[in-house]
Amino acid sequence: MMQRVLRCRASRRPGRCRYWWDQYSADNQGANDMMRKFAAATVVAAVAAGTSWGATAQETVRIGVLGPNTGPYAVIGEEVKNGFEMFFAEKGNKAGNVKVEVLFEDDQAKPDVGMTKAQKLVERDKVAFLGGVVSSSVAYALRDYAVNQNVPLVVTVASADGLTQKQAAPVIFRTNSSGSQASHPFGKWLADQGYKRLVMMAPNYAMGYEQTGGFARTFTAAGGKIVKSLYPPLGAADFGPFLTAFDPKQADALAAVFAGAEAIKYVKQFSEYGLKGTIPLVGTSLLTDDLILAQQGDAAIGITTAMHYSSALDNPENKAFVDAYQKRYNRTPTFYSEGSYVGARVIHDALVARNGDTKDKPALLKAMHDVDFVAPRGRFRFDDRNSPINDIYVFRVEKEGGKLVNKPIAKFDSISQFYTWTPEAFMAMPDYASVANDWAK
């Protein structure tokens, strides 16, 4: 309407309009303004009413799950989805007597996209919980939003240390391991095995710095030396230049942390450049999770990694979990799907404890914090900052009955994200991201 009025004013002869309807709108300008205001008021009223309906009629609790469907971590995104889906399918999509609906969104492992999708889930779909999240960059980006909106965020894959350390908050939970949690005992273990010199390689963002920083800190404390650290960009198509940038004679082992499609490529190229057999490859289990092992093939045999879970763990809960997962998705579960399955259970158990009430936030958060159950990995409970205390295993890739498995060869009991330090002492040390380039000095 505005446009027509303008066109009328712009017509060649002042006071005359080119078209009769311009004249009409010009004549009725006052009336149109009234109409517009009325319409706007109606919309505002409708929106306000809409939110109040939403707040009262909470029979279905919605959970928004974020994870990438595209890019190098797409494989992991699928694992997250499977974990949540399978858990709630087993419970008949219910938590006690409330119905649960899980909504999935693709965050493309990009912080900006993750943020937009989280806003969509919280503000439009009115989810009561956010879950999933694979990339640590996305997790860090969502942290403040979850705190400001007071929406519990259950991170099931991203290992970002800070989320449950300096940036810990009652609404932030983690169900896997923090970035350096498995690396700390592993670094010490490597030194105990007689390794003296390490070359480290990982993608150049929070995850890579924290996971390699973890073993660098305990490895050097036990007398070892970091010879070189290399951080290729995330999504590097070709590891050739990096794999050939150091002399394998300079080091006793190559410690690498890559995930998803990158890990497949990395292990294959490690073998193509003749490094397999020349220098041992160690890392965290991101490098050889149970799903990508099959694609890496025999190139992966002998790789030694640390993590809190692999499908080869021998306990009844894990056996049941692996069988159910195998049956449903026709593949072996990973610590990604286990973490997401456990994350779904944390939400479920808290909902049951609160009888489906998500209004009383402090009580809901306390119920989540207090969960204590036996998960496929073993006992699951949170520390004071909502990060789980896990048993950490050292796994070695071996061939068993024609199939590659991560076989546990050593175990460290009840390791928290702070390892042997007190939380205060640990957090007083500089972040792994800020010292990433100092280890090799």
Binding site: T70, A237, G240, P241, T244, A245, Y273
Partner: protein, 284 residues
């Protein structure tokens, strides 16, 4: 010594992959004055088509032949139906081909999914080649040799055949070629087909080395443009030298200064634009 030999081989293999892409891009521009951002789509389509062919026939060699042909056909269809409409308008060329790039990118995501995939290679190209202290993947060696062979073949074609002469004449003075009775439209389409086919070939070869995933089209089109800016538009020699330069700078930069990995090829490109905008072998 070993370090440098391996880095040079690494650089050469990347350079040859880039050359397959950039040669088509550069000659198409030289002949037709056409800025084709959709060249990245040809790479992506080549890789995905190769993937499908391998799934059906279980043969890498079949993919190596069929996928570039398919891409060449798609290229000609695109040029005949769509791109020739904006022949004389550079802004429209950029906008239209960028649109094509986006559409193809989403179509491939829809058809082939978002999981990164690798084209499986034939057994004889697996494994590594050892010589003295040097260990180098056989596949990359084969790729390097293929690139050099293709470069010589294109050069012979342009320098020694009648069609090559017409193409070179077209690059120099299109109106004069038209004036002496050559059907330049047909030559345009043929060159476009060859350029698209080469990009498709690069897709198959690159897909088996680096994998194929959504977004690969944007990555390679950026690198190919860096090559063309450095080498000079419309020059085959420029595309070759530019590829060698970018391949080496990128590889050495990554292994010597990994922190600057995203940076190493664009600094020379920007420097070239500032100092010599026509590139090493381009004509102003």
């Amino acid at each position: 010594m070993t370090f440098w030999s391996i880095q040079i081989l690494n650089g050469l293999s990347l350079a040859m992959l880039l050359f397959l892409l950039a040669s088509g891009l550069s000659v198409i521009f030289g002949l037709m004055r056409f800025i084709n951002l959709a060249h990245g789509s040809f790479y992506l389509l080549g890789a995905y088509a190769g993937l499908s062919v391998i799934r059906v026939t279980d043969s890498f060699w079949a993919a190596l032949v069929l996928a570039p042909l398919a891409v060449a056909v798609i290229g000609v269809a695109l040029q005949r139906l769509l791109l020739h409409r904006v022949q004389s308008n550079e802004l429209a060329q950029v906008l239209l081909t960028f649109g094509v790039l986006l559409v193809v990118s989403d179509l491939s995501l829809w058809i082939w999914g978002g999981l990164p995939q690798t084209l499986s290679r034939p057994a004889i190209l697996e494994g590594s080649w050892r010589w003295g202290g040097i260990v180098f993947p056989i596949y990359r060696l084969a790729l390097t040799i293929t690139g050099i062979v293709v470069a010589i073949a294109i050069w012979l074609f342009l320098e020694r055949t009648r069609i090559g002469a017409i193409v070179r004449a077209g690059v120099d003075d299109e109106e004069m070629v038209r004036g002496i009775g050559v059907n330049i439209g047909a030559v345009f389409s043929a060159v476009f087909a060859v350029g698209a086919g080469l990009a498709g070939l690069a897709g198959v070869l690159g897909g088996a080395m680096l994998g194929v995933y959504p977004g690969a089209d944007f990555e390679v089109v950026l690198q190919a443009f860096a090559v063309v800016v450095i080498g000079g538009l419309g020059s085959l020699r420029g595309a070759f030298i530019g590829s060698l330069f970018i391949g080496m700078v990128d590889t050495l930069g990554k292994s010597l200064m990994p922190d600057l990995a995203l940076f190493t090829i664009f600094v020379p490109m920007v420097a070239m634009l500032a100092i010599r905008p026509s590139g090493l072998f381009g004509r102003a």
